[in-house]
Symmetry: C2
């Protein structure tokens, strides 16, 4: 099934079930109002939502209405945990090289970064530029929402805890990031906001494309309407979502509604482009001596979407403008 | 007023108002069931809770009952944001020296570390030891819960966003921490859990002790019943809570229910002891060539409390045992 959260003026919005083809929606209010409720009580509520989803897909839901992505908040407008991984070694390697790091540090374990989860952006919400000289970048990736995952869960157990998948766009301020990372405490100011796709979907909606904790589909990214990347999300992902979750759960259990992102998709080769600007700039600097692609500016737009093998959008599109600072 | 959350089998517990002397409590269910609700809608709900608090303090609340800290969850059992600062330069300096860092890096800006907020411990909940060789430490500190804070808020504006204060105990796994920090991505596995005091209080409950975003009272810490520290929380805190929040809000707004901790209290001198084991070990290593104090082990207990000038407990005590790994 596919779930979304409609804006209603509240902090958590209103849960809706969305048809497979993203054309129709139906309020879930008879079952649950908020997605966090569903994740908290999945075994009881998810089957009821699945029934409504089946009715909707069959064209039999009585109070269905046209689905409008522009009315969506993030599926979870706020969460209790958001962790971004760096699961694509090519991305890590390129950024290290661009920073002048010597040697080739092998990626022997998942790299995880605890992020803010109090204030996610909806798929069509503009991001207000936090300042002209901050190096605003997007970061297109897949994310999973979990149920409860026990401490010490192995990758297979953790994989079974994946309830939903969505696309995420983790904005970053690249010109603030290196200084923050040098402090050894992660990123606080340099990760200003994260947006999510209109809908979150259960793994079965991906069919054969969901394999061993990876999604074998292309992630399409465009900046100002021009193709920026169409990376294969399942290829070159060194750690699958089960491994990422198990690493996170090594010393503590994860509670329902935990969100984990893969980090920007990056294939080993560069033919399929990039899922963030820093990745492209690093390749340019390496090949031509200097980065040509600029960071995001006021008036720019970013579009992120993933289509299945039949060419249909799975999650709807993240489609955001960069606005002037408030 | 003083607020607590009673265990009721649910993930968010049941909000209660607690009398100033911590002897009596009253369910807030006629006003709000969960503390997050109150923080979401403070201006509407807090006055109603304040009225109930006044009745309770006057001995006029009809359905009051004896307050039992052992029945408490954390005041916010889960939150949408938890950030731990390192606001005491003495602590940072000692730990850097213990790690063999050369030079004296001045603390020119707040150090902030995004933490997990999906699963807090109650004040009397045992922590299951995540493994024998992990270097389990406690970290006694003050924390604030905020309302909404605008992006770019200055320290004074941010200070006005402080709704509640509580004590926090941020456990850490010191033997995992250095390796995690070396990756530049902060701490994920090395911060296994955080516990909070039985009650959270509005700043007015601190009276004159709440001054310019600092709390001018001693934080008492004991391990296995023996005094470990009684540091002056308001002294040697280089950045007040307003400055910490403003730093956090530089590139993004903070949403209601954001929790920010000061990091372990550490005075410039060591006469008043320590608020975490690593701090004490660093001083021992510096003075005697080697650290003598061991990390926490199975069966150890940690007690953290803060009393006002009249000798009364402000927040109730955090009183936790270290249990065998599950």
């Amino acid at each position: 099934m596919k779930l979304a959260t409609y804006k209603d003026g509240s902090r958590d919005g209103q849960l809706v079930v969305v048809s497979r083809d993203l054309s129709q929606a139906h309020y879930a209010s008879g079952i649950a109002n908020r997605l966090q409720q569903v994740l908290d009580d999945w075994n009881f509520l998810a089957p009821q939502l699945a029934d409504l989803s089946a009715e909707l897909n069959a064209g039999r839901a009585l109070h269905a209405f046209a689905f409008e992505p522009g009315r969506c908040m993030a599926p979870l407008p706020r969460a209790h945990q958001w962790v971004q991984a760096l699961a694509y070694p090519a991305h890590v390697r390129r950024l290290r090289q661009a920073l002048g790091a010597s040697g080739e540090a092998p990626l022997t374990q998942p790299l995880l970064l605890q992020g803010a989860s109090d204030d996610f952006l909806g798929p069509c919400d503009a991001l207000a530029l936090p300042g002209p000289q901050s190096g605003l970048d997007f970061g297109a990736q897949l994310a999973v929402a979990t149920g409860d995952v026990e401490r010490g869960a192995d990758p297979e157990q953790a994989r079974a805890g994946v309830r939903l998948l969505a696309l995420a766009n983790a904005f970053s301020l690249r010109l603030l990031m290196a200084a923050e990372q040098a402090l050894g405490l992660g990123c606080v100011q340099s990760l200003p906001a994260t947006a999510f796709s209109p809908v979150a979907v259960t793994p079965d909606e991906l069919g054969e494309a969901w394999q061993g904790g990876r999604v074998q589909l292309q992630l399409q990214c465009a900046v100002n309407g021009r193709r920026f990347g169409m990376g294969e999300a399942g290829q070159d992902m060194a750690f699958d979502f089960g491994q990422l979750l198990a690493h996170l759960a090594r010393t503590r259990r994860l509670r329902a509604g935990t969100l984990v992102g893969s980090g920007p998709v990056a294939n080993a080769g560069t033919e399929l482009g990039h899922a963030c600007i820093a990745d492209k700039r690093a390749v340019e600097a390496s090949e031509a001596g200097r980065a040509r692609t600029g960071y995001l500016r006021h008036g720019d737009s970013v579009r992120i979407e993933m289509k299945n093998r039949a060419g249909h959008s799975v999650f709807g599109a993240i489609d955001q403008d960069v606005a002037m600072p408030a």
